[in-house]
């Protein structure tokens, strides 16, 4: 038998096939699933959400602190320099 004939034979292998029977008790299993309460989101999902929120808030807080520190930096340097009698160079 050549390759083409063999391929034809395989291609015809589903001819006359029947339908697979539905599994037994399919209706009972479906009914059980319908009666089961809808599952709440998993505990780990809540924990992950809380951890992410804390992480984002901590980052926002740090950024805010940095901005405030930067905005104070100009006047602050001058004050420290005069307190300790340090002369700041005019050019860098």
């Amino acid at each position: 038998m050549n390759r083409s004939q063999r391929t034809d034979e395989i291609m015809r292998s589903l001819e006359g096939m029947g339908r697979a029977d539905a599994p037994p008790y399919l209706w009972s299993k479906v009914r059980n699933r319908l009666q089961a309460p809808v599952p709440a989101p998993a505990r780990w999902a809540w924990q992950l959400a809380i951890a992410l929120t804390v992480f984002i808030l901590a980052n926002l807080f740090t950024l805010r602190q940095l901005r405030q520190a930067e905005s104070r930096a100009g006047g602050g340097t001058q004050a420290v320099a005069s307190e300790y009698s340090i002369s700041l160079p005019q050019t860098y």
């Binding site: 395989i10 292998s13 096939m17 029977d21 399919l26």
Partner: protein
């Protein structure tokens, strides 16, 4: 029970109507899922999913297509989703770690295939896994459910000529895969 009466009873939440729906269409839904997924356990789970989805979505059923078309549509779409998920998982880090490859899935012996064709059907089902989704859907609905091109077109929401083309391309691709496999066996 007539289809319209069945739909009305389903919408009213009748449990006996739903039992009748599962009895009447359970075989079609399960057989379709089995042909796509090539695994009895997965097919049974998917069949249950389909009926649960039908129960929850019966109010959204507009009745533009027949009940069986709607059921087939849900089954095909969920089966293809499941196959995509399997492929993604096989390609993922954990899939590679576990050594799972979709192409290396165990051979599938469909219970409805004639005894003398079992061996060939295993090869054909293996080749079917390599087809693109739409070709796979058209081919399996035609061969394992015996649906007409018109029925398949309705399920896949396309035209009859598009289904004809899908079937031709599926046959050509399957022949190519099988001839390649046969050549490797003889080499």
């Amino acid at each position: 029970m007539h289809e319209n009466e069945l739909i009305r009873a389903l919408r009213e939440g009748s449990e006996s109507a739903f039992a009748e729906l599962v009895r009447a269409y359970g075989g079609r839904v399960y057989n379709t899922a089995l042909s796509f997924l090539q695994n009895a356990e997965d097919a049974e789970e998917l069949a249950q999913d389909v009926f649960v989805a039908v129960h929850r979505g019966i109010h959204a059923f507009r009745g533009e297509a027949g009940l069986s078309t709607w059921l087939y549509r849900i089954t095909v779409s969920r089966s293809l989703d499941r196959l995509r998920h399997r492929k993604r998982r096989a390609r993922s880090f954990f899939g590679l770690l576990g050594g799972s490859k979709e192409e290396e899935a165990p051979d599938f012996d469909h219970p409805g295939v004639l005894a003398e064709q079992k061996e060939n059907a295993v090869l054909l089902f293996r080749a079917v896994r390599t087809l693109p989704a739409q070709q796979q859907a058209a081919f399996l609905l035609r061969k394992t459910e015996g649906l007409s091109q018109g029925e398949i077109a309705e399920i896949l929401e396309t035209t009859v000529s598009a289904v004809e083309s899908l079937l031709q391309r599926a046959q050509a691709n399957l022949r190519k895969t099988l001839e390649h496999h046969y050549k490797n066996l003889n080499a």
